[in-house]
Symmetry: C2
Subunit: 352 residues, 2 copies
């Protein structure tokens, strides 16, 4: 299993299937853990950091998780490979950009990715396409049990699992769901929804997490705090209340658009397709912005020139690092925009 093999498909988070997948692109749960008897990374020196990395990766390699999985030494990976992992949501931007010993263990089907030495010694993530948090909770528990059998985690009877950042102390759990909310954006209701979410102590973030734009109208909704809540409670509230409610709002906004401005809606979708399939140079941001109405059009049954699978491929492979990997070499900004337009034309005109 190599990184080059990995990038041949869009992976789990863009599989485009699963419950409510017309709006919920994917679900993720992650657990933050630190190894007992080692300092947190904020105070660890370079050699301790290296020791932690080795200790954790050795532990993982003794579990069945290491079967059919890929270990990437993020410290030694070149920038393009680091960026590929970020674009696939397997590591965070912070993990790519930080320094020192660090790595990630990735399941061949990308259903889990274990970041070593991100903010905590170990951040275990499990992914599923669509809204599948309860299944993910079982997935991540199995991962946690397997690793915990090999590595002793820092745990306090009163506080629970100890983590670098207080918001993670306790369960160390973060539940996050990637939602496609173009209609709420178009009708300008997104701000109201985001405010309501914040009132419920949820974080609403862009495509690549904290401080990023909601490129392509993709929003990540996640819990902010974990202390004092049961893990099952958090997962259940997300799965059965919070996310279905947001999905309901988006559905209502789509129906309202359809009722009051179906032509405007179709026009937006078709123009996006017209530009994507004819441009001679195009940025990653514009590509994502234009793919968004098309995704909505396909999911609303108003556009059938391409399918969700193709759309997800376009979404992933037009991003800078994937584009360059497929091209076989690094490209300047300008050359990327031209190569991206060429790729889009080839894919989109082929489908006609």
């Amino acid at each position: 299993m190599t990184l080059d093999e990995l990038i041949k498909t869009p992976g789990e988070w863009l599989r485009g299937t699963g419950p409510l997948s017309d709006i919920v692109v994917s679900s993720r749960v992650r657990l933050a853990r630190n190894v007992a008897d080692f300092p947190f990374l904020s105070t660890a020196g370079a050699s301790e950091r290296t020791e932690i990395c080795r200790h954790v990766s050795d532990g993982i390699s003794r579990t069945s998780l290491s079967k059919d999985s890929l270990f990437v030494n993020v410290q030694e990976a070149d920038v393009l490979d680091q960026q590929v992992l970020v674009e696939r949501h397997l590591i965070s931007r912070q993990h790519a950009a930080s320094e020192g010993s660090r790595g990630v263990v990735i399941a061949h089907d990308e259903t889990h990715a274990l970041m070593i030495n991100e903010e905590d010694h170990l951040r275990m993530q499990a992914f599923r396409s669509g809204l599948q948090l309860e299944a993910l909770w079982e997935d991540i528990n199995a991962v946690d049990d397997a690793v915990a059998a090999q590595v002793s985690f820092a745990f306090d009877r009163q506080f629970g699992f100890l983590t670098a950042c207080p918001t993670n102390v306790g369960t160390g759990l973060r539940v996050s769901v990637m939602l496609h909310l173009p209609a709420l954006k178009m009708t300008r209701e997104i701000e109201r929804v985001a405010r309501a979410a914040r009132d419920m102590h949820l974080a609403v973030r862009g495509l690549h997490g904290e401080g990023t734009e909601a490129a392509g109208d993709l929003y990540q909704v996640s819990n902010q705090t974990t202390l004092g809540k049961t893990e099952e409670g958090i997962v259940r509230t997300f799965q059965s209340t919070i996310i279905p409610k947001i999905v309901e709002y988006e559905r209502a906004a789509r129906e309202s658009l359809l009722k009051h401005s179906a032509t405007a809606l179709d026009d937006k979708v078709w123009r996006a397709f017209g530009i994507l399939s004819h441009a001679r140079r195009i940025s990653s941001e514009e590509t994502q912005a234009l793919l968004s109405p098309i995704r909505m059009g396909v999911n609303m049954g108003r556009f059938d020139v391409i399918d969700i699978h193709t759309l997800n491929e376009l979404f992933l492979y037009t991003q800078p690092a994937h584009l360059q990997k497929r091209h076989g070499k690094p490209l300047s900004d300008d050359d990327r925009d031209v190569a991206r337009a060429e790729y889009l034309r080839k894919q989109l005109l082929h489908t006609r």
Copy 2:
């Protein structure tokens, strides 16, 4: 010969041929005349106006000009028909919008159109595609001679032909050339060219003359005054100096774009095509704005999906009145935008 037959082709001014036709869409000369012993229209009453109209049209009907030509009673024509004539540049917007007896005699091939009771009793116009002012000067002289043999024009030995507006007194001649100047617009040199033209007492106007926008980057350049200049002098200066100079500037701007940003240029052309061929609703203004880079692309040999003939048809038939005439009935603004998009798709996707 009926108006419905006339609109089947784009007519002379959009024929797309003739010298320098990659930049000079068409040339026009017009002569302003008033009938001797009748008051100017500014002081004429309704019945005098009617008498003038009858007198002039009777005079024209006795010439060979009336053969194969169409007389439109502009006063009685419905708004859609009036607007069709404006869109074809056969009558002015003022002529369409004014009141009282008025009409126009149009040659079947639209090489001339004689407006009766516009600002003057008679405004004789001759048109040719491309830059052909000297030939037009002969055309209009033949028209003038024919009409003058039947109608006695107001003439003063000192001032020449008398006209309603002092700027026309003397020769009554206006020479105007419709230029397509997208590169000067893109490079923002158009303002400099327009200033230089104004310094030479030329008027630079939009698609439909005074006070109109340069829709589709089409600019009308014409002489401002006629008193004290010979007609041949005005025509010659336009034909051999003024227009070739502006054409040269536009060519230089196009070459500069090609040299410094060929990809940006192609991108602009292809995106315009992508939008025009996929939109589900589109305004007349946006259509003209998007047809402009395509026209440039075709004329620069960088775009061959459609030809100039088709482009000129699209330019004319997407305008509001032509669109409604072809549709067979008046349409609301919204319905026009949808019908326009349908028409464009049909024409453009057919060409692929």
